[in-house]
């Protein structure tokens, strides 16, 4: 199920809220939330929901074993990690790995293409955070399978994050405040996210698709229009979804961590990655970078650590060469910044912002493709090497059709827009109600009348 659908907005969520708020007792609330979350997941994966449930039971049991048999803790941890990653690898990377194996050895093994269970990249990382933090002693074991299940499957963050580590919700599972004020704040945040997704992201996606920048030769102007539209679409799509997740969490009394912090206002690439998909960056930092030694090692090892983390980050986004390349690209940029660029202490912020935007948007040129061939097409188009010239009537038509939403998108992406939203939500209270109502009605108009509504980060 998706948040931006008629069934979710007018049937699933109302029913869930009604039962949650009306039925007394905190255990009933947890049961309601768990049941609704399973239905939410099963709606999109009627078969693979069983896989997820088994995965949850497995991790829960392993947590119990770790508690009961302390001498075997390391062994249990390793087994759990291997199984969890193995499952993820199997469903997500098997096809790709077979292709790589074939191209290296010259054989042609066939790979059965399995459909990727929705959200597996997200919930696997969440269960891993539990077992690893349990091993480290940072959290207490969760003996109740329902509570553990709730932690993993909670529908606000199940499908597309933020990646909520167990330590964040450990206490909230049993002790949290549920109030009308929380409901209202959650609703407001949810509506902002819905509007970002449905009004901005989807329309920007239309502009991006109209340019066809990865499909064939396109004039330079059309290519840059497409790239910019994509970068804005991706931001509003993903940050909108995170807003909705955080808003929904709040409605049920949970405080999820922020996942985006006006990333296009960053003044360095390093800064960008502290503001974009924050929960993923911090997961990799916590469970890969720091265990590898982080930056408390010699230069060579430090650089290696960075490249490993960024290889994995790219690979997490997709089982394809262009995503790996995208990750490594950032690894190199971050190393460059760390050891060269950021040594220049008095670099003007504006220059930093321009540098960052250029680096990030060129990076999207790698990210938006499905294959390395498309990457070639995109970059030839961007730099005028595809023989289509600078401009064409068709690209002018696309520009005219898309310029308004692109400008609106750009205005909404600057840090000032975020500050404005926060200001409305805290001190300009009177404006909250009409602004949110207008956004809600407009969003509903788009949701109800458009049946096709893809969310970009789904198959992760």
């Amino acid at each position: 199920m998706v948040f931006s659908s008629t069934v979710f907005l007018f049937f699933f969520l109302p029913a869930c809220l009604l039962l949650y708020y009306v039925l007394p007792g905190k255990w009933t609330k947890n049961v309601v939330l768990l049941l609704f979350s399973l239905v939410f997941y099963a709606w999109g994966e009627p078969i693979y929901v069983i896989l997820m449930i088994l995965n949850i039971l497995f991790n829960w049991v392993m947590g119990l074993f770790m508690e009961k048999i302390p001498g075997w803790r390391k062994f249990i941890l390793i087994v759990t990690i291997v199984v969890d990653i193995g499952l993820l690898g199997f469903f997500k990377y098997y096809g790709f790995l077979v292709d790589v194996f074939n191209s290296v050895t010259g054989l042609s093994l066939t790979a059965h293409k399995l459909a990727l269970p929705i959200g597996i990249s997200f919930y696997t990382f969440q269960t891993l955070s539990y077992v690893i933090d349990l091993y480290r002693g940072k959290i207490r074991v969760q003996k109740n399978p329902l509570l553990f299940g709730l932690f993993v499957t909670m529908f606000p963050q199940l499908i597309a994050g933020p990646i909520v580590r167990y330590e964040v919700v450990e206490n909230a599972l049993t002790e949290r405040t549920v109030s009308l004020e929380g409901l209202g704040k959650g609703m407001a945040r949810f509506i902002f996210g819905l509007a970002k997704k449905v009004l901005l992201a989807n329309l920007l996606g239309v502009v991006f698709e109209s340019t066809g920048v990865q499909a064939g030769p396109v004039p330079v102007m059309g290519a840059w229009l497409g790239l910019i539209a994509f970068g804005l679409q991706l931001y509003f799509d993903f940050s909108g979804y995170s807003d909705m997740a955080i808003g929904l969490g709040k409605m049920f009394g949970f405080d999820f961590p922020e996942n985006f912090d006006a990333p296009y206002g960053a003044h360095s690439v390093t800064d960008f990655w502290r503001r974009w998909h924050i929960s993923l960056g911090s997961w990799f930092r916590e469970y890969v970078y720091i265990p590898l030694g982080g930056n408390r090692v010699g230069i060579v090892r430090h650089i290696l650590n960075i490249m490993i983390v960024w290889f994995l980050t790219g690979f997490w986004h997709g089982a394809a060469y262009n995503f790996i390349l995208w990750g490594l690209y950032y690894g190199l940029l971050l190393i460059f910044e760390k050891y060269v660029l950021l040594k220049w202490k008095s670099m003007p912020k504006a220059l930093g912002s321009v540098w960052t935007l250029l680096a990030v948007f060129l990076g999207w040129g790698l990210f938006l493709c499905d294959s390395m061939q498309e990457v070639g097409t995109v970059f030839m188009n961007l730099f005028g090497a595809s023989g289509s010239g600078w401009i064409s009537t068709n690209s002018v038509f696309n520009l005219l059709s898309g310029i308004v939403i692109v400008v609106i998108g750009a205005l909404c992406a600057v840090p000032f827009a975020k500050k404005l939203r926060e200001k409305i939500m805290t001190s300009g209270l009177v404006a909250v109600i009409p602004v949110c109502l207008v956004l809600l009605i407009l969003s509903v108009a788009f949701v109800v009348t458009e049946n096709y509504n893809p969310f970009l980060y789904f198959r992760f």
Binding site: A188, S401, L440
Partner: protein, 380 residues
């Protein structure tokens, strides 16, 4: 209670009530079966109940049902379209929204190979028919005659180029009836040649085309009175694009005033026959344009008391539906065939409806992608 808590508590309840209310309203209001605006059947609850769960089709049906039966759906569609229009959207599903609210269907770059195949089929038809007169009338659509009304920088292929290339392939015995010079004159004189919300030419345009060729081809001009049968027509392009029309179109029919001319129009596929070319009951349906000839059928046969031995075979698309009535006074029998619905062979047709004259009438947009005409010619 401080202000922040109060405002958000109120808002929380308000928003929840809206969402709950939407769901309740949805359930309580009776389901509709058909959408006039979208011109399609709407998902029914029974479609949802019967769909299997395991492959996700239940979920898809439920989502479609929830959206299709949402209260005030049409109002929300209008809201969405107006918002999109404000943002600069001028094209939807291949239809441009031009100046004055005129909807114009784009002409896609055409398939050269298909053009040659269709020309060859037409030539074969001409040879096999052995008719005394063989006419071909390719009618351009609005995109060709009103390019200046398209939104800025809209680019489409050229129907004129298609006409030139196609007619070049035709045998000399085929008489090409080119309406373009006439249309340019009529356009400059301010006549409405096309509808604002539909892809057809107006009946006035059809009548003018008829009169333009009548004297040269020996057709009787006849005296007609015209009448508007509906002034609240919005047509194919409005439905296809989803753009909100800013004005309705009017549909006009022409009645022959010659007291000696009696016409019998027979529809073998429906078993109906009558004295009129027009089926006024269609005005109440989702496709009022079917008032002309009752719509598209495989074969329609017209017999008249016209004082002539000439007979006519018309092979056509829907553009001919408003044109054929003007030919009643010039032929004793007219057989109207639509290759998109007629599944027989051309030979069979030429035997059962051997005619002195043949008229092939298509609009260029349709003919450039049509495969049914050549299929009909190629069947043994």
């Amino acid at each position: 209670m401080n202000k922040e808590k109060l405002v958000y508590s109120i808002f929380g309840i308000l928003a929840a009530v809206l969402l709950i209310g939407g769901g309740v309203l949805h359930v309580v209001l009776k389901d509709r079966t058909y959408s006039e605006v979208e011109k399609r059947g709407l998902t029914a609850f029974s479609d949802v109940k019967s769909a299997p769960l395991a492959d996700g089709s239940f979920m898809n049906a439920a989502e479609n049902y929830a959206s299709d039966q949402f209260p005030a759906r049409e109002l929300l569609m209008k809201l969405r379209m107006n918002a999109l229009y404000t943002l600069g959207k001028r094209s939807s599903e291949g239809v441009y929204y031009g100046q004055d609210g005129r909807m114009i269907e784009a002409f896609e770059p055409y398939d050269e190979a298909l053009l040659k195949e269709n020309a060859a089929a037409l030539n074969a038809f001409y040879q096999e028919a052995g008719a005394e007169r063989f006419y071909f009338m390719p009618v351009p659509t609005a995109v060709e005659m009103y390019p200046e009304l398209l939104p800025a920088s809209a680019e489409t292929a050229s129907e004129s180029a298609w006409i030139e290339e196609f007619t070049k392939e035709l045998e000399d015995g085929i008489e090409v009836l080119d309406v373009r010079p006439l249309f340019r004159v009529l356009k400059n004189a301010g006549h409405e040649l096309y509808y604002y919300t539909d892809h057809h030419w107006t009946t006035e345009a059809a009548r003018s085309a008829f009169l333009y060729f009548a004297s040269d081809l020996g057709w009787k001009a006849g005296t007609y009175e015209s009448g508007v049968v509906t002034d609240q027509f919005f047509g194919s392009l409005a439905s296809k694009s989803g753009f909100t029309p800013t004005r309705y179109d009017s549909l006009t029919v022409y009645r022959n005033l010659d007291p000696d001319l009696v016409t019998l129009v027979a529809h073998p596929s429906t078993g109906v026959s009558g004295g009129s070319f027009y089926d006024l009951s269609k005005l109440e349906t989702s496709n009022p344009y079917e008032v002309y000839l009752g719509g598209n059928e495989p074969i329609i046969t017209v017999t008249t008391t016209a004082d002539t031995e000439r007979t006519l075979l018309v092979v056509k698309d829907s553009y001919a539906n408003c044109f054929v009535p003007f030919l009643a006074g010039s032929y004793k029998r007219i057989t109207i065939v639509d290759p998109r619905y007629y599944t027989g062979s051309l030979s069979a047709l030429l035997t059962s409806a051997k005619s002195t004259d043949v008229l092939v009438l298509y609009n260029v947009s349709t003919l450039s992608t049509d495969r049914d005409l050549k299929t009909m010619v190629e069947i043994e």
